[in-house]
């Protein structure tokens, strides 16, 4: 099997449990992300999503296992991996624009000041921030606008991998919807590889090419990799009409509601814990049903 663009190999994270022993968050987690792919990871709190994210960002070291990107070991933070944090992490003493130029200047040290500013304003524009707003400090911006700045900062750096840690977690539903659209818009223009943590099933279906499902911790694992078989461009009002939408959604709800608990707490027995691929496609069934309506019993028999 060809190695993925981003490959996570036998990743294990243990923390001291406070009573002299160790608590294993996850063990031998193994999965990959392809170039240009948008992958969401879903799971309950405490299953280690954020730990995986921090390891990918290089902000934390795993107990064992490796992360490789483009065939190279990931160790320590790098400009190749941009991060959007849940709490925006904008520098409050800088204006929105300067928060972006600060990052762009770090990424492209040889650029002139003018180039940096033009590049930064262009990306702020992509997330709908123009005019006076970009000269305001984060404290003078709404939560939604702050997260837009944070997203613009990450995309403007054109990292090889973009990590989003529950970027919409602190936003109200309406703002969340708008910024999700803007995120998709920027993403489709840049063809970035995105790895995103979320709690929101609908958000994951709308945005992702593939959803990784995690069981509950401790000893959590990435149990399934669900392909989102809904073609792009997706629109939040239209995707619910798609025959695969509810099938996928039900599968995810089932998993998070029940199976994430049932599958949890199993030791890996020193085997790579690869997620099981799940492909849900009802469009084929529909074709068959349509054929059936055309009274073609043989085809139906074959499919059974």
């Amino acid at each position: 099997m060809a190695r993925s663009f981003l490959s996570i190999e036998r990743l294990t994270q243990q923390f001291p449990d406070g009573a002299g022993g160790t608590m294993t968050v996850f063990e031998n987690a193994t999965f990959g992300v392809e170039k240009g792919e948008f992958v969401c990871i879903l799971g309950h709190s405490g299953c280690g999503k954020s730990t995986i994210m921090n390891i990918l960002a290089g902000l934390a070291e795993p107990t064992s296992g490796v992360v490789k990107m483009d065939g190279e070991h990931v160790s320590g933070p790098s400009l190749d991996r941009g991060v959007v944090f849940q709490n925006y992490s904008l520098l409050p003493w800088l204006t929105a624009l300067k928060n972006v130029t600060f990052a762009v200047a770090a990424r492209f040290p040889k650029w002139t000041k003018q180039q940096v500013i033009e590049h930064s304003t262009a990306f702020l524009e992509k997330v709908g921030l123009t005019g006076d707003a970009i000269h305001r400090k984060p404290s003078q911006l709404s939560g939604g606008m702050r997260q837009r700045v944070s997203i613009a900062r990450a995309f403007a750096n054109e990292p090889k991998l973009l990590l989003l840690d529950e970027p919409f977690g602190a936003l109200d539903a309406l703002t969340r919807g708008t910024i999700q659209d803007e995120l998709i818009n920027v993403w489709s223009q840049t063809e970035q590889t995105v790895f995103m943590i979320t709690h929101d099933i609908d958000e994951a279906i709308l945005l992702a090419d593939r959803i990784l499902l995690m069981t509950n911790g401790p000893l959590a694992r990435v149990a399934e990799s669900v392909e989102i078989t809904i073609p792009r461009p997706r629109n939040r009002t239209e995707i619910v009409e798609h025959p695969n939408y509810y099938a996928i959604r039900n599968h995810l709800v089932q998993f998070l509601g029940q199976r994430s608990k049932e599958l949890s707490g199993m030791s890996s027995d020193d085997i790579d814990q690869r997620p099981q691929s799940v492909h849900i496609d009802k469009t084929a069934d529909l074709d068959i049903q349509a054929d059936a309506m055309h009274e073609n019993p043989r085809l139906r028999a074959i499919s059974e």
Binding site: A57, L59, N87, P92
Partner: protein
């Protein structure tokens, strides 16, 4: 609304000041009644007239508060008043007016606001005169004090802020240096004075050292605390953007910790200004602290109070400057 609030508070301040000054003025102002005139008995009068003292002279001297005993001495000299005056008056002849007759009434020793006001005006209109080592304008004296504070304080900042950065960024340094800081910090700056005088010898350098030592701790602990409590998110932003340690310190940690650092600087400048007055009282020579001590020794309470007023105003100006700086580096999260 805000304007009217400012106006009202200013009016209230003025009213408080006016009432304090009024009470002060009433309690300390004793009209200058001059010497208490002495009343002679018929018998005493007769004896003086017997000694050829003219009745005009007797009247003049008694109105100056000269008592009978001294009048007898003057009379026995058998000199006319013109001659005595030409010789420099009766005091020059060793004959003095009894204290209880010549001293101003008790209570007026403490200067009234009016008296201080006159002295203040004289000082403000001519702050930079030099009439001798012990008689210089308060502007010059404040200048000396300020110079000492600026030098000692700047040296302290140059040590405390980088060291505070190191302590704040390294938990190891924090833990290792903390016991020293905790023991040295509560020592009164003046307690360092004997050590400084003994080891350094020079009194001028000793007062600089005392300013240095007392300014050091608030800046050091505040810088360390400010740097150590920079939000990890912001440090992570710096890390994910691959900023060097140097750039992280300058572009992320410094602005993030600046409000705490400047608060420490503001506390330090306040302490330095408190301490310089005390140090100059001990060391002497120049400076506004020395002025206070000098005027006290000369019992010029009016001038001493003017000097104290200058200390207060200067301290306020220093504090205001740092309050401005504080506002300039503040940010809202």
């Amino acid at each position: 609304m805000l304007r009217s609030f400012d106006v009202r508070s200013a009016l209230l301040s003025l009213a408080i000041l006016a009432s304090i000054l009024a009470v002060w003025q009433i309690t300390t102002h004793v009209p200058d009644t001059g010497p208490v005139s002495v009343v002679l008995s018929q018998d005493q009068m007769g004896r003086l007239l017997d000694k050829n003292m003219s009745s005009e002279d007797i009247e003049f001297y008694t109105s100056q508060g000269v008592a009978f005993l001294q009048l007898e001495q003057i009379a026995s000299l058998n000199l006319s008043r013109e001659i005595i005056d030409a010789a420099g008056g009766i005091r020059a002849l060793g004959i003095s007016v009894p204290d209880e007759n010549s001293a101003p009434a008790p209570g007026s020793l403490f200067p009234s606001p009016a008296k201080i006001g006159i002295e203040l005006w004289a000082t403000v209109t001519d702050p930079f005169y030099v009439a001798g080592t012990n008689d210089m304008g308060y502007g010059i004296q404040i200048g000396y004090s300020l110079l000492r504070v600026v030098i000692g304080y700047t040296l302290a900042a140059l040590v405390a802020i980088p060291l505070g950065f190191l302590i704040g960024m390294s938990p190891l340094a924090y833990k290792a240096l903390d016991p020293f800081i905790q023991v040295l910090k509560p020592i009164s700056p003046l307690a360092w004075m004997p050590i400084a005088l003994f080891t350094i010898g020079d009194s001028e350098l000793s007062s600089l050292f005392v300013i240095f030592v007392c300014s050091l701790w608030p800046m050091l602990t505040n810088t360390a605390f400010g740097v150590a409590s920079v939000r990890s998110d912001w440090v992570n932003v710096a890390r994910t953007h691959e900023l060097s340690t140097w750039r992280t310190a300058l572009t992320v940690i410094l602005p993030a910790a600046a409000p705490t650092i400047v608060t420490g600087m503001r506390i330090s400048i306040g302490i330095a200004w408190l301490v310089i007055v005390a140090a100059e009282m001990l060391v002497g020579g120049t400076g506004i602290g020395y002025v206070v001590w000098n005027e006290w020794n000369g019992l010029r309470l009016d001038r001493m109070i003017v000097a104290i007023l200058f200390i207060g105003v200067m301290g306020m100006l220093l504090d205001t400057a740092f309050a401005r700086l504080q506002r300039a580096v503040a940010y809202v999260e």
